[in-house]
Structures are given as C-alpha cells and as structure tokens.
C-alpha cells in the first residue's frame, strides 16, 4: 500500500504544481498588463504614424488584451480628430494569443514588417518581458499598460531604455494601503496574511510593513497561506488572538473571498484591505456582500471617481462601447495618451526621440492619475482606494504618492 500511495502522491504532486503554476499565471495575468508602442523608422513617413499593439486578443487572458485594445482605440479616435503635428495615428494590432513566444514574434513582425514607431505592449508581465530584448535591440519604445512586475523596466539595477509602463508597480500598493490605514482609518496595530507562493502578495506585504512601522504602527501578527487552501479558520483564530485593529490581505480573489468570509464568521470584524488582486465579481459571490463590508482595496482607477477628467472618459467610453470601463480599459486609454503626448513633444516620429520624450513625461493629466515618469521608467501617480459596501465597490479616496 505504501507503494501505491507514493504513486498517487507523485501524480498528485505533479498535478498540484501544474495547478499552482496555472493559478499563479492567472493571478499574474490579473494584475499585470503590458503595453508597448512600436515605432519603426518607416512608420513616421507620410501623414500617418503607425503604432503597434501586441496584445492578448485570444487565449487565457484574452479579456485583458481586448479591454486594453478598446481603451487604445477610443483614445486614438479622439486624438485623430485633431492629429499630432499634422499627422494621424494608425493602430496595427497583433494577437499574441496570451503566449510569450507569440509576443516575441509579434514584436518582431510589428517592427520589421509594419515599421511601427512604438508598441503598446502586452497585458501581462510575462508577455511584456518577452519583448524587452527586441525593443532594446531595435530601439523601438514599448509601453506596457498593465505589467506591474518591477523587473520589466529595470533589471539588476539597470533601466531598460526602451521599456515604459502606464500602471504603478506592485510595492506601491502596499505603501498606499499602509498610509491609508494610518492616516484615514487611524489604526495602530495590524496583522498581515499573505499568499506564501505569490511574489505579488509578498511584494505588497513587504512594502506595507515598511511604511506601516515607519509611520509608528505595529505589526502584531504575520501569517501565511498556500494558494488553493480552503480552510483558514485556524490561522484566523491566531490572528484574532493577537487582537489587531486592521488586517492587510494582499492576495487573489479566490482565497481572499474565503478568508474574508471565514474571518467574519470567527468574529474578526476589523477593517480588511488588499490590492488589485481582489478586483473580480467572483469575490462578492464567494465572500458574500455582508462579510465584505468594512473592506478596502487599492486599485488603478475607479469609474465612480468624481474627477471630471474621469467622468468625461466614462461618458465617452459608454457612448462607444455601451458598457462601463474597467481598469484595463482606462490603462489602455491612458497608454495611448501617454504616447501621443510624447510624440507631440518629440516633434517627430523617430522612435529614439519618442523614447526620450516618454522618459521626460511630467505632470501629465491622465484618467488613472497625474503622471510623472521616474528614473526607472515607472510612473509616479495616484492610486484609488475603493470600499466595498453591500457588495458594491465605492470610491473612497485617492492617495497620492
């Protein structure tokens, strides 16, 4: 029987690793998108400027890529009403099928055949990373709308010259959450519960801890779980015994939903907060709307933000697509404006000049915040904090870096 057991366990082991991998990839997909703009020396000729889009239009994370494409197209329509320096933008889309190898091929095709001057890169970090080498070698800027992994723009302390992003990076959300907990919720002690297998979760937790303790707060409990767990009651009982005023829970919606539900059942009624990994309608189904009261998330943008710039975007988007824009739509839209602004300032469609202009972007008003590019090619911009009330996300506040 011992032999039989190990057989099954081996199979199960392989299985779990597959599941974990799949889960992680899906998770990354949820939080990362990359957009790039491709420019080729030929793209600037005539009265059009060709911009490439290397997106996940089919495959596992197709919804991210499609959402970004919608945002970019809406922005291009608006920009082309006036044109940039007398020229119009033309979008050339390739489908990378949500696969890294296809993303590399797509970048090569856009640069060598279509001669684009910039590429709106892929939605996920993995697919954007697959284009980094091509972009640097051919000197064509790539902008990822949603790839949040820090290594996309900087590797081993060295900046990838031709890579930019429109979204904030993972650790920023932890910092924002810590500031919100200290300043708005006025809590002094916090517990942290992380997904031990996720770099995203660990990254957020580390920056939360740093900012929270620097601001005079105290971390009273630190616990971890493994993705795909279903029973968190024992861990939550421990956390409850430590008596925190606040629980930081950076994870993905499947586990987070269960954790929030079980925490409330055990009488742990303190505010709970997480990052953009929570953002899914499934979260509300799993946790239940009552359990989600008094929980908050950090996110890129909220369609409920009263800012007139955002409301204008929401109206324009609804007029074109007949639905409310999500965060990916907003990031795609912003990526197009980020690029258009740089082309205008560069005064030419030369990819290298566009790259320099992108790197100098400062105080640009976009839907997802006022936008300044730092020396690492990451934007410094605001994040929004959303509160769950009766199963609805409500705009709570905007936090500036």
């Amino acid at each position: 029987m011992g032999g039989e057991t190990s057989e099954k366990e081996k199979v199960a082991g392989v299985f779990f690793s597959l599941m974990l991998t799949a889960g992680l990839m899906a998770g990354c997909g949820g939080n990362e998108q990359s957009s790039g703009s491709t420019g080729g020396s030929g793209g600037g000729g005539g009265d059009v400027i060709k911009i490439g889009a290397n997106l996940e239009l089919s495959g596992g994370v197709a919804s991210y890529g499609q959402s970004i494409a919608e945002g970019v197209e809406l922005a291009f329509d608006e920009i082309n009403k006036e044109g940039i320096n007398g020229k119009k933008l033309k979008l050339v889309k390739v489908d990378n099928k949500s696969e890294a190898a296809e993303a590399t091929n797509g970048a090569i095709k856009l640069i060598s055949q279509d001669k684009v001057v910039a590429i709106v890169g892929s939605a996920t970090s993995t697919n954007t990373l697959a284009q980094v080498q091509i972009a640097n070698d051919n000197k064509v800027p790539v902008i990822t709308p949603s790839g949040t992994n820090p290594t996309i723009t900087t590797k081993d302390g060295k900046v990838n010259d031709f890579i930019f992003r429109t979204c904030f990076i993972d650790p920023f959300q932890g910092t924002v959450a810590a500031k919100f907990a200290l300043d708005d919720l006025k809590v002094k002690s916090a517990a942290i519960l992380i997904d031990s297998a996720s770099d995203y979760s660990k990254g957020l937790a580390a920056s939360f801890k740093e900012t929270f303790t620097a601001g005079g707060g105290k971390i009273v409990a630190e616990e971890a779980y493994v993705a795909k767990d279903t029973d968190f009651r024992a861990t939550l009982t421990n956390i409850k015994a430590a008596n925190p005023e606040f629980l930081f829970l950076p994870g993905y919606y499947e586990e987070v939903g269960l954790i929030v539900k079980q925490a409330r059942e055990l009488g742990l009624n303190v505010p709970i907060m997480g990052g953009d990994g929570w953002d899914s309608p499934k979260l509300i189904e799993i946790a239940g709307k009552d359990a989600l009261n008094n929980t908050y998330i950090t996110n890129h943008y909220s369609s409920g933000d009263p800012d007139p710039k955002i409301q204008e975007f929401v109206k324009a988007f609804e007029a074109k697509y007949n639905k409310a824009p999500d965060a990916f739509n907003a990031l795609g839209y912003d990526t197009a404006y980020f690029l258009a602004d740089a082309i205008k300032r560069a005064g030419s469609a030369d990819p290298v000049k566009i790259k320099d202009a992108l790197a100098q972007t400062k105080d640009l008003q976009l839907v997802t915040g006022i936008f300044t590019i730092n020396e690492n090619h990451d934007p410094i911009k605001s994040a929004v904090i959303l509160e769950y009330k009766d199963g609805q996300q409500q705009f709570k506040t905007k936090v500036n870096p």
Binding site: M1, G2, G3, E4, T5, E7, K8, E9, V11, A12, F15, F16, M19, A22, S196, E223, A224, Y225, V226, K228, T230, D231, R233, A234, T235, T237, N238, A241, E254, G257, L258, K261, E265, L266, G267, K282, E285, I286, A287, G288
Partner: protein
Amino acid sequence: MELIQQLVNGISLGSIYALIALGYTMVYGIVRLINFAHGDVFMIGSFVGFYAVTMLGVGFFPALLLAMAVCAVLGMTIERIAYKPLRNATRIAVLITAIGVSLLIEYVMIYLRGAQPEAYPGTLLPKQNLELFGVVISSQSLFILGTSLVLMILLQFIVHRTKIGKAMRAVSHDAEAARLMGINVDNTISATFAIGSALAGAAGVIFGIYYTKIDPLMGILPGLKAFVAAVLGGIGIIPGAMVGGLLLGVIESLVSGLGYSLWRDGVAFIILILILIFRPAGLFGKNVREKV
C-alpha cells in the same frame, strides 16, 4: 479559549474528512482497492448540490439527497465500467485505472463548464453565531457536524443491522466463501460503491456550504487527506475512518494554531508516513500476519 476555538475549527473540518474517508475505507475493506476517484465523486456531489440549489431552487435537504443519489449512481457506474473488468488483474493495474478515472472526471468537468470556481449561495442554512465564553461556533458548523453524525450512525446501522450490510461484511471477510454461501458478490460490491459514493456526495454539499467555493479540482486535496484519515484509523475499518477523520482535522487546526500554517498539509502526510512505518494497520486495526 483559543485552544477550544481551534478544537471547534478542527472538528468541523474533521467531520468532512470523516465522511469522505468512510467511502475510501468501505471500498478498500471489500475489494482491497484505494479508489482514488473518490475525491472526484465528492466534487461531483458538490456541483450537483450547487446546481440543484441555484437552478432548481431547492433547499438544503433535497439538494443533499439529490447529490447523494447522483453520486451513488456515478459510483456504481465507475465500478462497473472501470474496476469490474479488472477484478482479477494485479492491484497496481486497478490502482492506475483509479487514477485514470480520477483525471477523467476532473477534466471532463473542466471541459463541460470550465475551470472557474463557483460560489454556493450563503443563504442555504440559517447563519447565526453562538458565542460561549469567547468561542464562536457558527450554527452552520453545528449543522454540518449533526448531519455528518446522522449519516455515520445510519451507515453503522446499514452495515450491522441489515441484510446487505451482513453481505458486505461477509464479502470483505472472504469473497470466495461468501460466493459459495450464495451471496451475490457483484451486487454487494455495487452496493458498497453506491453507499460510499453517496457519503462522498453528501460531504461535497456540506463542503460547499461550509467553504462556499467549489471548483473541478477541489476533490484532490480533501480526497488525499481523507485517505490519510482512513489509513490513520485503520483502512477497512468504519469507526477508524470516523475517528481518523476527526483526529486529522483537529491535528491540522492545532498545527495552524501553533503558527505553522504552511506546514499543515505537510504534517498530514508525515502522519501517513509514520503510521505506515510504525503501525500500518492503523489505530483501530489489529496486526494480522499475512498467510503465505
């Protein structure tokens, strides 16, 4: 207080393990087969309950009964199609078949409805928290424990007080002799699979209510844990599966409670290894020397 709370957590978890472990142990007792597809029957039970509640709009008990009935039929079908033709084959062949059936059920389910999770509606059972000296016991976990206990008592009754139960015990003791005595061994084995699978189906519905989230691969880990529970109690022994399940649930909760939550699954399998080394017959088993 914290310790008692952890015990309460552990018993709720353990009663689900126990229900699944019962099916393992019954099937092993009668055909000497570790039915690794059992965890997936549990998953199917969970989904049948979910669809019954959300699409047919029925309450808890009809959903539970429906899931049990569907799983009983599924269990018998699996036995007829996959295991019966191999009854005289080597045990490793049947075991590999069981793993194949397990994968087949999982991926057919993913093919049919996708891999995304589903959430049980929270309103199925009244939700109220009972607070005793700082220990929170939800009415749901009491309900779950109650249902599990009733099912276990029912099983004991079937095995010890009915004709089919007597036949099951006879077949597990010596199938050849039972056949000579006029017992229909095929039907008895079918009945065992039906009862074991029905219990797994019930555990599926209970799991769905208690943990809310269900998905096509949800059966793998509880299935393996229940197997550990069955071995812990002594595989083939019905009270052993119950005690093994509850014990494993409590141990897991205590391990997490001590702050080693990442070790929880590891500890369950360390127990399996230790039991197999030091007491292979399990807590309730007698060490019988194999006749050569």
